[in-house]
């Protein structure tokens, strides 16, 4: 084998464009299989649309249309009523990776990196060779701009294939994107259907009109006209900045001194704190930022860690609110009991965040399988990688046995229960760019657990109450059953007549039943429940002719399971089943 010189090898060494990198690593962005690719494409477009409308303080109305072009090819059309995008920015936003408004600021928005929508365009281009079509209109009296865009994967720069002014009748302002891409549409869990439904649930202020590939139109109408408060942008907190970022910030800052740099570029740093940081870093407050060397920056970084700095402000994040979260859950699940909680804001790595949780118990939910988990981050449903998510981890490590659910060690609890967890933060830490799983920060897991425990305690008292009422109902059943036997046996032994026997029976009823008072009823009482909505994105979608059989089987199985239960709850569960199955 002939040896190769460094020069020879150098010929092959060249910069890899980010677009090229993702072309080879599309799974990192959530395009790893056709079904997921379709979902990710829709998700990125919808997230952008929601961010854009909310930022412009417009009540979002979003249309999502999926057209099936061939067995494996779809056209995705997503239209919003946002502020529109000026012509100059259109190519960069839609056809350049890592270009965006959100990466450099800290605010609780859905998008963060400026990758998503461009990645969708790139994916469409890779699988169909076709450009994406974007139309945008910024005001009623202006014309709309139509562009056909591709990404030059070598340079990560947009290629404009076509650009024209056009009329967009009846539209005041907004943006529409059309992308052809390879995908696969399967209903059920982790489908576009489920994603849009869950999005609607946690974004009650938005209306989504969805046309499925089967040309069925589903309208998720808004249930409130109130926009969530505008996400406030905050400067970074010193604790949340890594060394590399710190060096970058020092390079680009306009400030003149280190002290000024610290007080102006960061939140929660006043002159005194700034001086203290400098002291702890053995640097002079008057040092010019551009003169800070890498070594000095490292000292500064360590100095920051040594200094006590107050936690960042938390008013910059707006949770959904326990009440709204619970309301959403009520639409989706017909249960006997709901509860929810919003935790006070907490901080991880200098980033403020809020955890909210809600749960629905009993009713039509399957008691024999693991609980259903619904995860959200900044109002975006997370449908994949549940196992890798800090939320699943926190649920597993909460002791649900105390709260009336079954649970084996280190696994998800079992029971007729759904658990919702939402994290809002100016920077949500995901385990990967596809943004499906929360990273395992200790502070985050702790907060999730606290929220779950709060809900759990309420759940426990409900479960206990349900058991008490069940016992009571059982006792009443007993009275009904056995009074005739007592009277009958007494009659047989003592030998009295029917009338006297009747008298004995009546007296027994009086004595035993009337002292027990009214029996409180527990059942499903949920006017908010929307069965049509609940069906969307469910796994039970079975073709028409096959529908009867499996359902029957399921019912039979449930009965069996109930029969095998311990004596205590036997009767009550039996009743339960009758009231809740249709």
């Amino acid at each position: 084998m002939t040896q190769k010189s460094a020069e020879e090898l150098a010929k092959k060494q060249r910069e890899i464009s980010i677009a090229e990198f993702f072309e080879k690593n599309r799974h990192l962005l959530g395009f790893d299989n056709p079904r997921r690719a379709l979902l990710t494409a829709v998700k990125e477009a919808v997230d952008n649309a929601l961010d854009a409308t909310e930022e412009a303080r417009i009540l979002p109305e979003i249309t999502v249309e999926l057209l099936q072009l061939s067995e494996t090819r779809f056209r995705m059309i997503v239209e919003d009523n946002g502020p529109g995008i000026i012509k100059k920015q259109m190519p960069n936003i839609f056809a350049r990776l890592l270009y965006g408004s959100k990466f450099h600021k800290l605010a609780a928005t859905r998008g963060q990196q400026g990758i998503g929508i461009s990645a969708t365009v790139l994916y469409g281009q890779l699988t169909t060779g076709k450009p994406a079509t974007i139309i945008s209109k910024t005001a009623a009296n202006k014309k709309a701009t139509l562009m056909k865009l591709k990404i030059d994967t070598q340079t990560n720069l947009p290629q404009i294939l076509e650009e024209q002014e056009t009329e967009w009748e009846g539209k005041e302002h907004g943006t529409k994107i059309e992308v052809d891409l390879d995908g696969s549409y399967i209903k059920g869990r982790q489908s576009v259907d489920e994603y849009l439904k869950e999005t609607a649930i946690v974004n009650p202020h938005c209306t989504i009109i969805y046309v499925t590939p089967e040309a069925q139109q589903i309208i998720f109408a808004r249930s409130t006209d109130e926009l969530p408060p505008e996400p406030k942008e905050i400067k970074p907190h010193p604790y949340g900045v890594e060394l590399g970022r710190l060096i970058k910030m020092l390079e680009i800052t306009q400030t003149k001194t280190l002290q000024q740099f610290l007080t102006e570029e960061f939140v929660r740093v006043g002159p005194n704190t700034a001086k203290e940081i400098c002291e702890n870093s053995a640097l002079l407050p008057r040092t010019k930022p551009e003169q800070v060397s890498r070594e000095m920056a490292e000292k500064l970084y360590q100095g920051i860690q040594k200094t006590k700095i107050i936690a960042p402000p938390t008013d910059c994040i707006s949770p959904i609110g326990a009440e709204e979260l619970e309301k959403g859950l009520r639409k989706e699940i017909n249960a006997e009991f709901y509860c929810s909680t919003t935790r006070p804001a907490a901080v991880y790595r200098g980033n403020p965040f809020v955890i909210e949780a809600a749960l629905a118990y009993g009713g039509e939910q399957d008691a024999e399988s693991s609980v259903r988990i619904m995860r959200f981050a900044n109002r975006v449903p997370l449908l994949y990688q549940q196992g890798a998510c800090a939320i699943a981890n926190a649920i597993q490590n909460t002791s649900w046995k105390n709260y009336g659910l079954q649970q084996s060690r280190n696994s998800l609890p079992t029971g007729a229960c759904s658990i919702v967890v939402h994290m809002t933060s100016v920077w949500v830490p995901f385990t990967s760019e596809s943004k499906e799983a929360l990273a395992h920060y200790e502070e985050i897991i702790k907060e999730i657990k606290l929220a779950l425990q709060e809900c759990g305690r309420k759940l426990a008292s409900f479960v206990n109450k349900k058991r008490r009422i069940g016992d009571e109902a059982k006792k009443r059943g007993y009275i009904q059953k056995y009074i005739p036997h007592v009277a009958d046996a007494l009659k047989e032994i003592v030998g009295f007549d029917e009338q006297k026997k009747k008298e004995i029976e009546d007296n027994l009823y009086t004595m035993l039943e009337q002292v027990r008072g009214e029996l409180e009823e527990i059942g499903v009482d949920n006017p908010d429940y929307d069965p049509e909505l609940a069906k969307i994105g469910q796994d039970e979608e079975v073709p028409e002719e096959a529908e009867e059989e499996p359902k029957k089987m399921k019912k039979g199985k449930m009965k069996e399971a109930v029969g095998g239960d311990d004596d205590e709850d036997d009767d009550f569960d039996g009743e339960e089943e009758q009231t809740t199955l249709f």
């Binding site: 009275i479 009958d488 046996a489 047989e492 032994i493 006297k500 027994l508």
Partner: protein, 373 residues
């Protein structure tokens, strides 16, 4: 000393029992008519509610009672108890009997009040028995359990059910088999010249002694108890020993179960049957072995005590009124706890299969200092 109890015959006549059943039910219906929740009082059948009466020689029932008030949670048991009382009344009035299992099946006609398992009906039966302070035979129920096997120098005089004639059963003439004690033996009479009764825990040991006609050699009657003696077995031995005024020696495994369950129950009765112990015990019984000292003296092969054995020993010393009353038993149990071992009857075979006949039992008969009370 002949215990006082031996002089009495168990019994309340059927009529009396029926009257008592009617009285209990009548009280109850009167309470109900006054809109008062009726109660039934049942003597508490547990070791905690007996005392060892040294003079009488058996576990006597203390006045502890469990009161059951008719409420929503007790109504099922109430219904079942009353149904069972009605059945008992019916049986007594028609001079019939039902086995415990039959009674359980009769309950299947009671709809919702039926018993799901026989232990439930047995328990209700025991409650009624205790409530009336009678034996279950007197309320018309008999058990299916075997009363034990008998072989040796004994003639049992029974009555032919059809002809009413006397039947003489010679217990020496069963060859390798044995006479089986009936579930109710109040009518039996005996003829014997035997010098003692040997009550044996295991049928294995009984077989060996019977095969080699030990009863001829020692002029005795062998009874196999097969574990904890049934009521019928206890009553049979008691009646035989009282009638013929012969001593009773008990031969069990050398373990806490042999001492505390088998021997103790035979001699003084049990907590569960406290209301009838008076008739179903054998106060004249003496413990032959295997004692902890025997294990040492005869160098017997042993097994280590299990945790349950150790617990049982501690429990006997602390809670059993019989053991508490008898110092030698406390010493023996403590000795066993220290030795940490137990030995089975059959362990004697380690010294030769007939060691038990040639050496062990003759030794025991000679020296009553090796016995336990």
């Amino acid at each position: 000393m002949i215990p006082m109890a031996a002089k009495k015959k168990p019994g309340m006549e059927g009529k009396e029992v029926v009257q008592k059943i009617v009285d209990v039910a009548d009280d109850m219906q009167q309470e109900i008519r006054k809109l008062k929740q009726p109660q039934i009082k049942i003597p508490l059948r547990a070791l905690s509610n007996v005392e060892y009466d040294d003079k009488e020689g058996y576990f006597k029932l203390l006045p502890g009672v469990k009161e059951r008030t008719l409420t929503a949670s007790t109504i099922k048991t109430f219904a079942q108890t009353l149904r069972m009382m009605a059945l008992s009344k019916q049986l007594l009035e028609s001079d019939d009997i039902a086995t415990k299992r039959e009674a359980y099946y009769v309950s299947k006609n009671w709809g919702e009040a039926r018993f799901l398992e026989q232990p439930e009906s047995d328990n209700v039966m025991d409650d009624i028995e205790a409530m009336m302070t009678v034996n279950r035979e007197q309320i018309g129920f008999i058990p299916e359990e075997k009363g034990g096997d008998v072989a040796g120098e004994l003639v049992v005089i029974d009555v032919d059910q059809d002809t009413g004639k006397e039947l003489e059963i010679d217990c020496t003439k069963f060859g390798s088999g044995a006479y089986s004690v009936p579930s109710s033996g109040e009518h039996l009479r005996f003829k014997t010249k035997a010098k003692f009764i040997l009550a044996i825990e295991t049928s294995g040991m009984f077989e060996r002694l019977n095969k080699h006609k030990y009863w001829r050699k020692a002029n005795c009657i062998l009874v196999s108890m097969g574990g904890v003696p049934t009521r019928a077995c206890r009553r049979f031995i008691r009646k035989l020993a009282d009638d013929q005024k012969i001593p009773v020696y008990v031969f069990t495994d050398g373990d806490p179960y042999g001492f505390g369950n088998i021997y103790r129950t035979l001699k003084v009765g049990s907590g569960n049957a406290a209301h009838i112990n008076e008739y179903f015990c054998v106060p004249q019984a003496q413990f032959f072995g295997i004692t902890p000292q025997d294990i040492i003296d005869y160098k017997l092969p042993t097994h280590p005590l299990k945790e349950v054995d150790v617990k049982k020993i501690r429990d006997l010393i602390k809670n059993d009124p019989f053991v508490i009353h008898h110092k030698p038993w406390q010493k023996a149990l403590e000795q066993m706890a220290k030795m940490k071992v137990r030995a089975e009857q059959q362990a004697l075979a380690a010294h030769g299969l007939n060691f038990v006949i040639d050496k062990y039992l003759p030794d025991k008969l000679k020296n009553n200092k090796t016995w336990l009370p």
